[in-house]
């Protein structure tokens, strides 16, 4: 007789492998391997002490058994194939499968609950995983994408306009030129600037997104062309008028004509020769980019030209090494080029960051949080299914005891339980995948932002993409997501099946020790404790998620209610695109004429235009704002120096900006009369403190004539509502044209008229659109309108990120809460069921219904109280991860914690109310008789 040994790893391997040996040969096969192993063990034991080395050797030997098993597979075919199929159908596994299926079908209610739970968990986590995988894990669609980097400058708060530290990916052109010469770790540095250009076609003018790029950018990104060539090194000159088309532009402007190379496109009136068409999916820097033209880097800093930079690491250089070099070069250049306005260099200001991590830096923490939340939901699902399986287990356990008594092996019974759970798991995975598939669509739709590129520039600078996360089109249920779903389904079902399996094993041991066979359920006090612990965990996890979700939702509400400085409801916004060969005078006349005609339309309260719309960020320069008592160098050093926009008379009223003091621009404020300015509250506060700025004369250096402040308006947000507003001033567009006499005409026009972004205050913005179009056509058929949409939508698009956070965290939290609630219900119901007899006796002995009610409810309350408390604790511990995503609410907001905690406690206690009520209706006679 073989002495029983501990299951050492090598024996365990044989044990597992033997399952794959054809059944006919299995016993003998195992005997042979076991004998050899034990002989070897004994032999080794005789010579030296068995250490890890010998164990490893034995393990390696036993691993060979897998090959042996593989080789023996062909013995399966030795028999008659027909009989073989018949045997396969009647084999143990097939039997167990059929048995499992029958059990599943027999309990449709139970099955439905389990499947629903599983599929919701699998669906949610797979959907979130598919996003995380595409955005954070999949390399960017460029060759050797992990060597693409950006030089990131961390600007300390005292040097930024809003007094908040910023990460900048732009640098001045002269600095880039020097950097290129100095660097040894970056093989190529490409620069780009996004701009807009007016294209004149036969149908009239239209606006296109143009990227001015240094030719090296194509090399850096490894861009492929589908036609022609990309830009080449020599073309970095002001007079080289060549253009690379995007696949989209090729389609919309040339109808995919194959002989497009050599033809010309007029961008801002200048003819550019087409030299190439980019590959279908090349969309750098944004998906709306249609043309790439050469960027001319000006080596001297006559005018501040900021460019964004993408570089490629040398093959043998690590990011750390490149960062160290960037720090040195950055400081060296800061000292030699811009010593005039920079403070002392600070520690680690420059670094090199992978392009992908830079692009996802803003969204990555949130995505990780969502992934964690989804996995928490999955954890709750698993414990829920485990509890469900356990609570159904009583009958199964009795069945198992009988099977065991009839000679079934323990492994066979365990396998049966596992097979049933995996069956449920795979069905859940299938439904979950369908759920994930549809929710990914919803997710993408929610994360996509449908606003013109002009409004997206600020978001792109900040987040690397205008939508909630970059590369949104690549997101989908792919092989990776599929694998993930199957993996978590199998994992969840196996873990869930461990519950009943272990229980049965425990029964088994007990019954062989002579325990009670008739009522195995009554014995497991420890099982009850485990179930309670599981439910406490569920409630705790759900509470944590709920707190996070409520914080994010409150933050979103705060943000939506935050004052923007203007009233976006009932405002239609659009840009007027005028052919670039029109003179400034003609453009101005057109713009003014349109404003007059619009204002005269019925239903229109006010209309006007500005050089730049709100939410587009940025500003044009009209000189250096110089209030009395400040010198020009002082103001140049001031990082919070005001931004400015040129507006027409009707614009600010049309936007619903409030006038706090003074007067609006009037018809008399034209180019002949005294120059006047409106300032915002932030500006007034910054430079005039408590004094009223009305009537104060300021200078816009180097302009000679003074400007008089005639009014103070509310702070207008030019970015997201969670950002502090800049100090700003507004000038009349007519005066802006003549404000800077030294500037070239084209530049003055850009500053004064800019994008001709109109705002029309009108009740029915959709109804006015046809009128608007015909009016513009009447005015001048060559002029077009671009990006017409309600301002409300632009604002709402700007808040898509916090809305996304709020909705998705809310969804996950609700799922978690419902699952936690059902967990409490199931546990209490099961516990009550088990105590039926006891309760029956209590009632028979005269217990009041209220006592019984209290008895059961107190169980639920204890579980809920403990769970909620633990959950709040976890939420508090994890709150710091949320801080960056919140606005107007602190991550440790006591009100939220209190309300969520008490409400969820009440709800979970409510979950145990139904079983409690049922317990009071127990018939004592029936209960005592029940055995």
């Amino acid at each position: 007789v073989t002495p029983r040994r501990a299951l050492l790893p090598h024996r365990w391997i044989i044990h597992v492998v033997s399952a794959f040996i054809p059944k006919r040969l299995r016993t003998e096969w195992r005997r042979e391997w076991d004998a050899e192993l034990s002989y070897h063990e004994a032999e080794i034991g005789r010579w030296r002490r068995p250490g890890w080395r010998t164990r490893l050797l034995l393990m390696r030997r036993s691993l060979g058994s897998a090959w042996d098993a593989l080789w023996l597979q062909r013995r399966r075919l030795d028999e008659d194939p027909v009989h073989d199929i018949a045997r396969a159908c009647t084999s143990d596994v097939a039997l167990d499968l059929r048995h499992g299926l029958r059990r599943i079908v027999r309990a449709p209610g139970f099955t439905a609950v389990v499947l629903l739970t599983l599929s919701v968990g699998i669906g949610a986590s797979t959907a979130v995983f598919s996003v995380v995988r595409t955005v954070l894990l999949k390399p960017l669609p460029y060759p050797d994408a992990d060597r693409l980097v950006r030089v990131v400058e961390t600007v300390p708060p005292e040097e930024t306009p809003r007094g908040v530290a910023e990460e900048r990916i732009v640098m001045e052109a002269p600095r880039l030129i020097r950097w290129r010469a100095l660097t040894k770790t970056l093989s190529e540095m490409g620069a780009y600037v996004t701009a807009f250009a007016t294209i004149s076609t036969k149908e009239g003018a239209s606006r296109a997104v143009v990227a001015r790029v240094s030719p090296t950018l194509f090399a850096v990104l490894g861009a492929r062309m589908q036609l022609g060539r990309s830009l080449v090194a020599g073309e970095e000159r002001a007079d080289s008028r060549v253009v690379v088309l995007s696949a989209d532009a090729w389609y919309s402007y040339f109808g995919r004509s194959p002989d497009v190379i050599g033809r010309t496109v007029a961008l801002d009136g200048a003819p550019y020769t087409v030299v190439g068409v980019a590959a279908e999916r090349f969309d750098f820097p944004s998906s709306q980019t249609q043309f790439w033209i050469p960027l001319v880097l000006e080596p001297t800093g006559s005018r501040e030209q900021f460019v964004s930079v993408v570089a490629r690491l040398h093959p043998e250089v690590s990011v750390q090494e490149a960062s160290a070099e960037a720090e040195i070069i950055g400081h060296q250049l800061a000292n030699e080029t811009t010593a005039r306005d920079r403070a002392q260099p600070r520690e680690s200001r420059y670094r090199v960051q992978r392009l992908q991590s830079q692009m996802t830096a803003a969204i990555a923490p949130a995505l990780r949080l969502f992934m964690a939340a989804a996995l928490v939901v999955m954890l709750i699902v698993t414990t829920n299914v485990l509890t469900l399986l356990l609570s159904r287990g009583t009958r199964q356990r009795q069945e198992a005891v009988i099977q065991r008594a009839l000679g079934a092996s323990r492994s066979r019974i365990t396998r049966q339980v596992m097979i049933e759970a995996v069956l449920l798991g795979s069905a859940g995975a299938a439904i979950g995948l369908a759920l994930a598939y549809s929710s990914v669509h919803v997710l993408k739709a929610m994360a996509r932002v449908h606003v013109p590129e002009l409004f997206q520039l600020a978001a792109q600078q900040q987040f690397g993409s205008a939508s909630v996360f970059p590369r949104i089109d690549d997101i989908g249920i792919d092989a990776g997501a599929l694998t993930f779903a199957v993996l978590i389904a199998v994992l969840a079902s196996v873990i869930a099946a461990l519950g009943p399996a272990l229980q049965i094993a425990a029964d088994d041991r007990r019954s062989f020790r002579g325990g009670s066979l008739s009522r195995p359920g009554a014995l497991s006090e420890r099982g009850a404790r485990i179930r309670n612990a599981l439910v406490v965990g569920q409630v705790a996890l759900a509470t944590t998620l709920l707190v996070a979700a409520v914080l994010l939702i409150r933050s979103f509400i705060q943000m939506s209610d935050a004052p923007m400085g203007y009233d976006p409801t009932n405002v239609l916004t659009f840009q007027l695109v005028v052919p670039s060969d029109y003179s400034v005078k003609r453009k101005e006349a057109l713009a003014e004429e349109l404003e007059t005609r619009l204002s005269a339309l019925s239903g229109v309260d006010a209309a006007g235009f500005a050089s730049l719309p709100p939410l587009a960020g940025g500003a044009f320069a009209y000189g250096i704002f110089q209030p009395p008592g400040k010198t020009v160098p002082e103001m140049m050093r001031d990082p919070g120096a005001p931004q400015a926009r040129a507006v027409s008379r009707g614009y600010l009223p049309a936007m619903g900006v409030r006038l706090l003091d003074g007067r609006w621009f009037e018809g008399a404020d034209d180019r002949q009369n005294a120059q006047v300015l409106l300032v915002t509250r932030a500006l007034a506060h910054r430079y005039f403190g408590m004094r009223s700025p009305i009537g104060v004369q300021v200078h816009l250096a180097p302009g000679p004539r003074p400007w008089t402040i005639i009014g103070v308006v509310d702070d207008v947000h030019n970015g997201m509502p969670w950002e502090e507003p800049y100090a700003q001033f507004f000038m009349d567009s007519r005066q802006a044209l003549v404000a800077l006499p030294d500037m070239p005409e084209r530049m003055r026009e850009t500053a004064a008229l800019g994008f001709l972004s109109y705002a029309v205050r009108v009740q029915d913005s959709a109804g006015i659109l046809p009128h608007l179009r015909s009016m513009v056509r009447q005015l001048d058929p060559a002029v077009a309108i671009d990006g017409a949409m309600p301002l409300r939508e632009v604002v709402s698009a700007g808040m898509s990120r916090p809305r996304f956070y709020a909705v998705w965290s809310g969804l996950l939290a609700i799922i978690a809460a419902v699952l936690g609630l059902t967990g409490v219900y199931a546990t209490v119901a099961y516990a009550t069921l088990r105590r039926t007899r006891e309760i029956g006796i209590r009632i028979a002995l005269g217990a009041q219904r209220s006592t019984v009610l209290r008895l059961v409810l107190s169980h639920g309350a204890a579980v809920a109280a403990l769970g909620v408390t633990v959950g709040l604790g976890w939420a508090l511990l994890l709150s710091r991860y949320l801080t960056g995503m919140l606005f107007g609410v602190t991550a440790t907001d006591t009100t939220t914690y209190g309300i969520v905690g008490s409400l969820f406690f009440c709800v979970t206690v409510g979950g145990s109310f139904l079983p409690a009520l049922r317990a009071t209706r127990i018939d004592p006679v029936a209960a005592i008789r029940q055995e």
Binding site: T2, P3, E28, R31, E32, D34, A35, E36, S38, Y39, H40, A42, R60, R61, S62, L63, G64, S65, A66, W67, D68, W71, L72
Partner: protein, 124 residues
Amino acid sequence: MREDYLCRIRLMPAPVLSHAATAVLQAVANGHQHGFDVIAVTGLASGTVYPALRRLEEAGWLESRWEEHLVAQRELRPPRKYYEVTAPGEVALAGALARYRSLAGRGRARSRPLRPSRPEGGRP
């Protein structure tokens, strides 16, 4: 007699003795009758030796038997399975050895040379 067999073997399309199988067969012929002993002697992996043993047995060149129960019991271990070379097996071995030796002679054998076998009945 031996020549005849050799002729027949050479004409037989399958199975052809691989280098590893030859080594295994030779090890068994030299008295290393158990799977792990063969592994120890030939230095081949267990995943190679066992399939080779099965294949040789299938071809009728090896025979397997279980150890006497009493022998095993005396040593407090389960009975082992041991393999013996059959008469056709010996012929096949001789043929295969001749083939590999001639290959080695012509310098075309790329595989590891066979290990020198231990004397009869030798135990590690």
